[in-house]
């Protein structure tokens, strides 16, 4: 019997350790395309989270009935159904946002995060755990998209969530709201995260070496005294 991971961990792993956008580099198409502003990023990730949670739930319920040869096709049909629901609801309730996000809402169908979680998690775990996992991944996606959108919005149109945060004297960096800005911001963010992780790893290694040295020294003095 495999050791079960705690339920809290099932949720929190998606936020940083396995953050879908920043660490696993999944779903890059919406990550780059819609993060012109923080609000767009938040709306996109909420839509994706809705699809992720419900499709994970359904897939984990039917996981034992689907023959493994046709599982991917079945998953995609389930996902496409929920994407259709999201798209219709958004068109009716938030027409402005729906227009802004354009074809990127339907493109959630082929978002690797959702199919990835379906294949890697929901097809092997029960419904409750799958929902927790999906919520965690969704939260991680939300944080990543809101952060990228925030950075691009502040530098590219000197506002955050529609409110001006930088003085008029600041000349907006037009490139940040253009496609090129998306690639550059995301690349720099990933580099910064890697640098941070490398530093943490180096520190841990140094601490480990220092501890071993100390122990060796102690053993040496023991030998000398003994």
């Amino acid at each position: 019997m495999k050791k079960q991971v705690s339920l809290v961990r099932e949720y929190t792993k998606g936020i940083w350790d396995q953050n879908p956008a920043l660490r696993q580099l999944l779903g890059m198409c919406p990550t780059l395309a819609v993060t012109v502003s923080a609000m767009n990023g938040i709306a996109m990730s909420l839509a994706a989270t809705f699809v992720l949670v419900f499709s994970s739930f359904i897939i984990s319920l039917v996981r034992n009935f689907i023959p493994s040869q046709v599982r991917i096709a079945s998953y995609i049909v389930i996902i496409a159904t929920f994407v259709t629901i999201v798209d219709l609801v958004m068109r009716a309730q938030f027409p402005a946002m729906s227009k802004e996000l354009g074809p990127y809402i339907p493109l959630i169908v082929v978002n690797c995060i959702i199919l990835g979680r379906a294949e890697a998690f929901a097809s092997k775990n029960g419904p409750f755990r799958s929902i927790l996992d999906a919520l965690g991944m969704g939260t991680g996606f939300l944080i990543a998209l809101a952060a990228l959108g925030g950075i691009r919005e502040i530098l590219g149109s000197r506002s955050l969530l529609g409110m001006q945060v930088l003085p008029d004297a600041f000349e907006p960096w037009l490139v940040m709201i253009l496609p090129a800005g998306a690639f550059l911001t995301f690349g720099l963010c990933l580099g910064a995260i890697n640098a941070l992780l490398n530093r943490k790893k180096n520190k841990e290694e140094e601490a480990l070496v220092a501890r071993h040295m100390e122990q060796a020294n102690l053993a040496l003095t023991d030998v000398k005294e003994g």
Binding site: T84, L88, F186, G191, N194, A195
Partner: protein
């Protein structure tokens, strides 16, 4: 003339990868060698053109007459999955060398957002049948161009001294950003 404009616009100005962020996964994943990037571009182009034909026929001859447009996402994704499977089988039967060259890339194409994106854009822009095919060819040519240039740059990048934190995906994204900036030079060449 109209068709030529659609082709140029899809290839250079509204490049699928660099302006619409469609097909980023293979663009980052399969672009480390020119010898695999170019066949990937060709295979994608092939599927794009077939998808353009199939999705146009399905949408305007089946979904619209029966007023079931809301089924478009389910219909498109199933058609694409079936099409990729079909192409794989045909290539396997017709040409073994080609199958071996493309083999691993073909299943990947199903989940390439460029393919579904193309089908959605055809509906969104209400292209007619001929325009859809040209749009598919143009999008494929643009994708092949972008992924080939990227592979060429990345082959050179192997020799460069990249800071440790930026090795791999981050530097690739930054190169893609510079490429996108360069492609912005084409904007305004024609207006569509």
């Amino acid at each position: 003339m109209e068709l030529l404009l659609i082709f140029i616009s899809a290839t250079l100005i509204n490049n699928f990868v660099l302006a619409y962020f469609l097909g980023i996964c293979p663009f980052i994943g399969v672009s480390n060698k020119l010898s695999s990037a170019f066949p990937m571009g060709l295979a994608t182009t092939f599927v794009l053109v077939l998808t353009a034909i199939a999705s146009w026929l399905i949408y305007f001859l089946i979904l619209v007459p029966y007023h079931v447009e809301y089924l478009q996402y389910v219909a498109f994704i199933l058609v694409i999955a079936a099409l990729v499977q079909f192409v794989e089988m045909v290539i396997k039967k017709v040409s073994q060398p080609l199958y071996r060259a493309l083999g691993i890339f073909l299943p990947l194409i199903t989940t390439n957002c460029a393919i579904l994106g193309l089908a959605l854009f055809i509906v969104l822009k209400e292209y007619n049948f001929m325009e859809s095919i040209v749009f598919g060819i143009g999008a494929g040519a643009g994708f092949t161009l972008a992924i080939s240039i990227m592979a060429g740059i990345r082959e050179e990048l192997e020799l460069a001294n990249v800071p440790k934190a930026f090795q791999g995906a981050p530097i690739t994204l930054i190169v893609a950003g510079l490429l996108a900036l360069a492609f912005m030079g084409f904007a305004g060449m024609i207006t569509v």
